[in-house]
C-alpha cells in the first residue's frame, strides 16, 4: 500500500504525536545535564527539575513586596493588551478587507498603500509610535495593531476578491445592494477566514507585545522575561516561555473550536 494511504491506528497515532515532544525534552535534558556536570552553577540550561520548582514557585508564591503572584498579574496585563490589539485589528481588517475587496474605488486607493505599509518594519519605527501614542497601554496596543493590521487587511481583502464572481452576480440578480452583498454574502464568507487569519497573526502579535513590553512596561509577560534576561535566569525565562506557548496554543484551540462552532458550513461537505 502506498504510504499516502496508510493511516496509523489509534494507539500508534498517540505514540507518534508524543514522539517529537519526548525527543525534544530528552535532547534538552541531556544538554542541560552535560552543562551542569561541567559547571554545577551554570544558568543557561537549568535542569528540568529546577524549572519545575521555579514554575511551582512562580505560579503559587506571592511576591514579597507586592504580595501578589506576579505571574498572574503579568498574564492578565499581557492578555488584555493582546486582546485589545488583536481585537481592534480584526474589526478594522474586516471592514477594510470588505471595502477593498468589493469596491474598485477603495481598492485603487488603499491596496497599494497597504501593500507598502505592510513592508515597513514596525520595530524600526517604534520610537515614533511611543512619541505619538505615549508610553502607556495605548502604545503597546498600537504596536500590535501596526504590526498585524496590514497583514490582516491584505489577507482578508484577497479572500473577498476570491469570492466567485458568479456568487456576487447571483446576489445582484436577487436585487442586493452593495451593502447587502457586503453584509450577507461577503461578510459571512469572510468570517471563517478572519478566524484563520487571526490565528496566523497571533504569533506576530505576541512578538510585538513582547517587544513593546520589553521597552516600557511595569508588568506583563514580555516585561518579566526581558527583566530577568539580564541575569540569565533561564529557569524563569523558560517557565514564562512555556507558559506563553501554552497560552498561545490554547488561544489557537479556542479559535479553531469557535470557527467550527460558528461556521458549520465550512466543515460540512460532501
Amino acid at each position: 500500500m502506498r504510504l499516502i494511504n496508510r493511516h496509523p491506528g489509534r494507539l500508534t497515532r498517540t505514540a507518534l504525536v508524543a514522539l517529537p515532544f519526548l525527543l525534544a525534552f530528552g535532547a534538552y535534558a541531556i544538554g542541560s545535564d552535560i552543562r551542569l556536570t561541567a559547571n554545577p552553577s551554570d544558568k543557561l540550561l537549568p535542569a528540568p527539575s529546577t524549572i519545575a520548582e521555579t514554575a511551582h514557585r512562580l505560579f503559587t508564591m506571592p511576591d514579597q513586596r507586592s504580595e501578589k503572584i506576579l505571574l498572574w498579574g503579568d498574564t492578565a496585563a499581557s492578555l488584555i493588551r493582546l486582546g485589545l490589539g488583536v481585537g481592534i485589528s480584526a474589526v478594522l481588517a474586516t471592514i477594510l478587507g470588505l471595502l477593498i475587496g468589493l469596491l474598485p474605488y477603495v481598492r485603487a486607493t488603499l491596496a497599494g498603500f497597504v501593500a507598502v505599509v505592510s513592508m515597513i518594519p514596525p520595530l524600526a519605527v517604534l520610537p515614533i509610535l511611543f512619541i505619538v501614542f505615549g508610553l502607556g497601554e495605548l502604545s503597546k496596543v498600537v504596536l500590535i495593531i501596526v504590526g498585524i493590521l496590514p497583514f490582516l487587511i491584505r489577507d482578508l481583502s484577497a479572500r473577498v476578491i476570491e469570492i466567485p464572481r458568479e456568487m456576487i452576480v447571483k446576489a445582484e440578480t436577487l436585487g442586493a445592494s452593495t451593502f447587502v452583498i457586503a453584509l450577507r454574502v461577503a461578510l459571512p464568507q469572510l468570517l471563517p477566514r478572519l478566524i484563520q487569519a487571526v490565528r496566523l497573526s497571533l504569533g506576530p502579535a505576541w512578538l510585538f507585545l513582547i517587544a513593546a513590553e520589553a521597552i516600557a512596561a511595569e508588568r506583563g509577560l514580555g516585561y518579566r522575561i526581558f527583566l530577568v534576561r539580564r541575569f540569565l535566569a533561564m529557569d524563569i525565562i523558560l517557565t514564562y516561555v512555556i507558559w506563553i506557548t501554552f497560552l498561545a496554543f490554547m488561544m489557537d484551540m479556542v479559535l479553531r473550536w469557535l470557527s467550527r462552532r460558528l461556521f458549520p458550513w465550512t466543515e460540512a461537505s460532501l
Binding site: 466567485p164 464572481r165 458568479e166 456568487m167 452576480v169 447571483k170 446576489a171 445582484e172 440578480t173 436577487l174 436585487g175 442586493a176 445592494s177 451593502f179 447587502v180 453584509l183 450577507r184 454574502v185 459571512p188 464568507q189 461556521f263 458549520p264 458550513w265 460540512a268 461537505s269 460532501l270
Partner: protein, 255 residues
C-alpha cells in the same frame, strides 16, 4: 418594439473574437433555448444578456430601456456553479431570493416567518424539503443545482437566464424541474434564455432554439473568428420545427 433586442453584438477577449454580428429579437414571455458547440460563446452571450459584461460593440435593450449597466432584479440567473450561497442553509438560500432586495438583506418578525413558510413551500415543490436545514455543501451536485434554480425563481425575475441548469440532474428530477419551470413561467409570464447541451430539452422547453456556431473557420487559426447565431428554429409546433437558416455555415461538426 420587441421585449429583448440584441443589435449587432461583437464581443472579444483581448484580441480574440468570441461573438460577432449577433442579432436577435425576443418577445416578452418567449422561451429561448441556446445550443452550440462547447466553448463557442454561449455562456458569454448569457453574460451579456445579464449585463454582467458589456459587449465590445452593439447593444442589448430590454423593454426598450437603455442598455442595462449591471445585473439587477429583472434578470435572474443560474450558473453552472456557485449559484447558491454556501454559508446559508437550504431554506435560507430560498429566503434570500426575496430578502436580498431589502435594506438589510434580511427579514425579521412576521415577515421572516411568512418568508420561511413560502420557502418551505418552494422546497417541497423542488423536492428539497427534507434537507431544508442542511448546508449546500452537504447536498449532491444535482440537489445544489435544483436549489439554485428554486432560489432564482423565488426572486420572480422578468427574464431568467439559465446556463446548463439541468446538466447535472438525473432524468427523473430533470423532468420534474421542467414541469416546475413551465408552471412558474405560466404564473409569471417571464422570458427565459436557457443554454443547454440537450437538443431534445431545448426543443421541448423552448419556443425557439438558437444555434451558435462559427460561420467561418480558419483551419490554421481556429480562434480567428467568433461565433454567431447560425440557426434560429421555431420550436413551438410540438417538435416540428420551422427552420430559418440565418447564416451559411461550412463548418461540419465532428461525428
Amino acid at each position: 418594439m420587441s421585449f429583448v433586442v440584441a443589435r449587432d453584438i461583437f464581443q472579444s477577449y483581448g484580441t480574440r473574437p468570441i461573438l460577432q454580428r449577433v442579432n436577435v429579437t425576443v418577445e416578452e414571455g418567449e422561451f429561448i433555448s441556446i445550443v452550440g458547440a462547447s466553448g463557442c460563446g454561449k455562456s458569454t452571450f448569457l453574460r451579456l444578456l445579464l449585463a454582467q459584461e458589456r459587449p465590445t460593440r452593439g447593444e442589448i435593450r430590454v423593454a426598450g430601456a437603455e442598455p442595462a449597466e449591471e445585473p439587477g432584479r429583472d434578470r435572474g440567473v443560474v450558473f453552472q456553479r456557485y449559484s447558491v450561497f454556501p454559508h446559508m442553509t437550504v431554506r435560507d438560500n430560498i429566503v434570500a431570493g426575496e430578502s436580498f432586495r431589502t435594506r438589510w438583506g434580511m427579514f425579521s418578525g412576521a415577515a421572516k416567518r411568512a418568508a420561511r413558510d413560502r420557502a418551505d413551500e418552494t422546497l417541497r415543490r423542488i423536492g428539497l424539503d427534507h434537507v431544508a436545514d442542511q448546508y449546500p455543501a452537504t447536498l449532491s451536485g444535482g440537489m445544489q443545482q435544483r436549489l439554485a434554480i428554486g432560489q432564482a425563481l423565488t426572486a420572480k425575475p422578468r427574464i431568467l437566464l439559465l446556463d446548463e441548469p439541468f446538466g447535472a440532474l438525473d432524468p427523473g428530477t430533470r423532468l420534474s424541474m421542467h414541469d416546475f419551470l413551465q408552471d412558474l413561467r405560466e404564473e409569471t409570464g417571464m422570458t427565459v434564455f436557457m443554454v443547454t447541451h440537450d437538443l431534445e430539452e431545448g426543443f421541448k422547453l423552448g419556443d425557439r432554439v438558437l444555434v451558435f456556431d462559427k460561420p467561418r473557420w480558419d483551419p490554421h487559426d481556429p480562434n480567428a473568428y467568433g461565433a454567431t447565431i447560425t440557426y434560429d428554429f421555431d420550436a413551438r409546433d410540438g417538435g416540428i420545427p420551422f427552420q430559418r437558416i440565418k447564416e451559411d455555415t461550412h463548418v461540419f461538426r465532428p461525428a
